[in-house]
Amino acid sequence: MTDGQTIAKGRKSADWLKHLVIGGILLIEMFPFYMMLQISFKDNAMFNRSPWLPAWITSWHWENWIFGARLVTPYLANTVFISVSATVGSIVIAVMGAYFFARYRMPFSGILWSAFLVLMLMPGVANIVPLFLLLKEMHLLNTLWALVILGVAGGQVFNIYVLRNFIEDIPKDLFEAAEIDGASHFQQIMNVVIPLSGSIIGTLAILTFLGSWNDFLMPLIVLRDRQLFPLGVGLIYLDGEPVKEWGRTMATYFLASLPLIILFLFTMKLFVRGLSAGAIKG
């Protein structure tokens, strides 16, 4: 008892140093955030005069935000469309695929599984060129569908890998009980797999969503029309403007970050838990 208390006290006294260090690091991490915010209200001249401190509230340039909003909204619509479609499609198909591998050891499943695994080892770098040309042959260039399909296809291997492990851990009795009750495989997925794998599916969904949201390379080379651009490409174009209005640019960046921040505030617990669970499994 007393030993525990002494030890606990001993640990607490050294804590302030840790807090200092961690706080310091967090401050640096938050610094870009702060800069983004306070610059977004200035114009170039104001920023040049006083780069560090926020400007007086009366001199704030709210129109930077209007500019940002007008720029970001069409891109946002495209990005939401692509990311959500790709995530939903990817998860649904991956669950089905993982179910195949996890439920029974069907003939040839060994070979098929190796086929999937090999792809995990394969770096994507060699694929960009042929992928572009494949899309050209399929007349999918300059469409959003191309990006959705690529998003779905790209996520398969990792998602199936993780999901298979998870589904295999579900006790077989649950499946057998459902089967005895006359459930088809589809119903077994709906009633057994999904409820139990909720957290891991959620995590995978978020990861897939993030991956799709941040992608800029394929959209850059696949799309031509400005109205089809997702956020990534839109931001690249913004960066290429010769005369940079930093205030406007920062407002645009902030607005581009906002949707993800909102999403995370809602799903945060899920994500953190999901990551930790995945980590312990190793």
């Binding site: 619509a77 029309d225 949707p259």
Partner: protein, 537 residues
């Protein structure tokens, strides 16, 4: 339901709502595009300068007014992604109908492969010039330079590919207030000597007078060459004339002659004229900020507009940007050159060079696979008519490319100066030599740079690069020939069958082109063989 589940549910509903909105937006857009008889012409460019986009827009609207059922769409691509964008669009077959000539569109390969030669249409008058003095003038002759060279006329392929919108001249922009303060008067330098005097004054007195460091010239990796190249060319005027023989009047001389002279060691980089040219480059560089070769155009513009530099050299296209960004009055004068009686640099020059050859630029190329080729061609005619070019010049603040367009007072100093001598050559003979020179440039410029250090360092690398570049030229020539062969053969066949009336004429045209190409190629191969190098890579 506990709090967490509620939060998740709200989150999901929000997401679903956003998705629904996004969906409607995406699909409503595609709906308006399909199912319409609207012909859409798209043109892409990378001129993001203020005013230019507006000017193009105005022209597009005017065109739509007289052509209902046609929509003209402007696509502005930032310069940093322009090469990637154009290559992917061209390779993917989704390119817009008109593309601006720019980095990565200009190679012979790319031009011949993806773009429609316009030569057959430039001989007839532009119908949109009806009612003006240019009514009966062939389209080609309506431009200030008659489309006789880069970038519009390709000398290897012997075809016209581009239709321009502007002409570019280089000038020195200077800070009038600062100039008055430091030199005490308003007289502008007319010769190189006077120019250096002004620079020296700024260096000596600038800080004392203004209270902060002032650099004479704002340099950068893009602005510095404007000055140094002009000075370089001036020094090699006589040398160039030597090699061109009687062909002095041609704006674009034969650079192959020079290339082979260097390869055969008949002409060396240590030739006094060339050394002097590099020397003057070094001298001019002394008056720019230290480390200027690493800076970008925006950095130089920033230095100038903040009043930390007296002058900046750039093209006429920057007038609007500079005047709008600078809080002081800006004046303009041409890049001065040494006169014949200059003690150090006079002996190599004839005199100031003419700007008659100032190429018309901002050109648009016609995509070969365009779905509305005739319409796009028509739009090109419209855009380059006198009336529309005048509109363009007025709205963008750029110089016009078409003859007879009035230029407003502000832009008058930028109009090309026709009087003058031919210019010399620039020290670049291809991609590899460019790279070698670029890598060693710091030995020439910079405060402890010298011509000797630079030339010594170039040494073997430069020779190897020159060989490589010559091989590339041969390879390109051969490929061009191969391409022309196919066209020639088909036209010959057509003409034999009397299937297409114009075929016979085309055959004789192509024969002429082929002969020239073959001769050039043979020369190239011969020279390389003589030197003991494989003619192509």
């Amino acid at each position: 339901m506990n709090r967490e589940k509620i939060m998740n549910l709200i989150g999901l509903t929000l997401l679903a709502a956003c998705f629904a909105m996004a969906l409607t937006r995406v699909f409503s857009r595609t709906a308006t595009h399909l199912g319409s008889d609207v012909v859409t012409i798209r043109f892409a460019h990378y001129q993001l300068e203020s005013g230019v986009r507006g000017a193009f827009d105005a022209i597009a609207r005017e065109y739509e007014k007289i052509h209902p059922g046609v929509v003209v769409e402007q696509m502005s691509i930032p310069e940093n992604v322009y090469p990637t964008w154009t290559v992917t669009q061209l390779a993917g077959g989704t390119a817009p109908d008109l593309i601006e000539y720019g980095p990565s569109t200009g190679s012979d390969e790319r031009l011949a492969r993806y773009f429609q030669p316009l030569t057959e249409w430039v001989g007839s008058p532009n119908p949109y010039n009806k009612g003006t003095s240019l009514e009966k003038t062939p389209w080609r002759q309506t431009f200030l330079d008659g489309l006789t060279g880069w970038p519009n006329y390709n000398t290897n392929l012997l075809e016209i590919y581009g239709m321009p919108n502007t002409v570019v001249t280089i000038r020195f922009f200077y800070n009038r207030d600062l100039y008055r303060k430091i030199t005490g008067n308003e007289t502008l330098p007319r010769t190189y000597q006077e120019f250096i005097e002004v620079c020296r004054k700024v260096e000596q007195d600038g800080e004392r007078i203004t209270g902060h460091k002032v650099v004479p010239i704002a340099g950068s990796k893009s602005n510095a060459p404007r000055i140094t190249e002009s000075l370089f060319c001036g020094q090699v005027q006589k040398l160039w004339a030597q090699y061109q023989g009687d062909d002095l009047r041609q704006a674009n001389g034969n650079e192959a002659v020079l290339r082979f002279a260097v390869l055969k060691h008949k002409l060396s980089l240590y030739d006094p004229a060339i050394q002097s040219a590099y020397q003057i480059t070094h001298d001019a560089g002394q008056y720019m900020q230290p480390g200027f070769m690493q800076l970008n155009r925006e950095d130089a513009v920033f230095t100038f507009t903040q009043g930390n530099a007296l002058m900046i050299a750039t093209g006429s296209y920057d007038t609007v940007s500079l005047t709008s960004q600078a809080p002081f009055e800006i004046g303009v004068f041409p890049v001065p050159s040494p006169t014949r009686d200059d003690p150090v640099y006079g002996k190599f020059v004839f005199g100031p060079a003419t700007e008659a050859g100032a190429p018309t630029q901002g050109s648009f190329l016609l995509y070969m696979e365009s779905k509305h080729k005739q319409q796009a061609l028509d739009f090109l005619r419209f855009m380059t008519s006198q009336k529309m070019n005048a509109l363009f010049a007025a709205k963008s603040g750029w110089l016009p490319a078409v003859i007879g367009v009035d230029v407003d007072e502000k832009m008058k100093p930028f109009m090309p100066e026709m009087d003058g001598y031919i210019n010399g050559f620039r020290p670049y003979w291809g991609a590899d030599t460019y790279r070698v020179i670029d890598n060693n440039q710091y030995l020439l410029l910079g405060s402890d740079g010298s011509v000797k250090k630079f030339l010594d360092a170039l040494g073997k690398d430069f020779d190897a690069a020159l060989v490589s570049d010559s091989q590339s030229v041969n390879k390109t020539s051969r490929n061009n020939l191969l391409r022309q062969d196919i066209a020639l053969a088909s036209y010959m066949q057509l003409s034999r069958q009397n299937a297409v009336p114009a075929a016979a004429k085309k055959v004789s045209e192509l024969n002429e082109i082929e002969t020239k190409l073959e001769l050039d190629l043979d020369d190239g191969i011969l020279e390389m063989n003589e030197l003991g190098f494989p003619p192509m890579k």
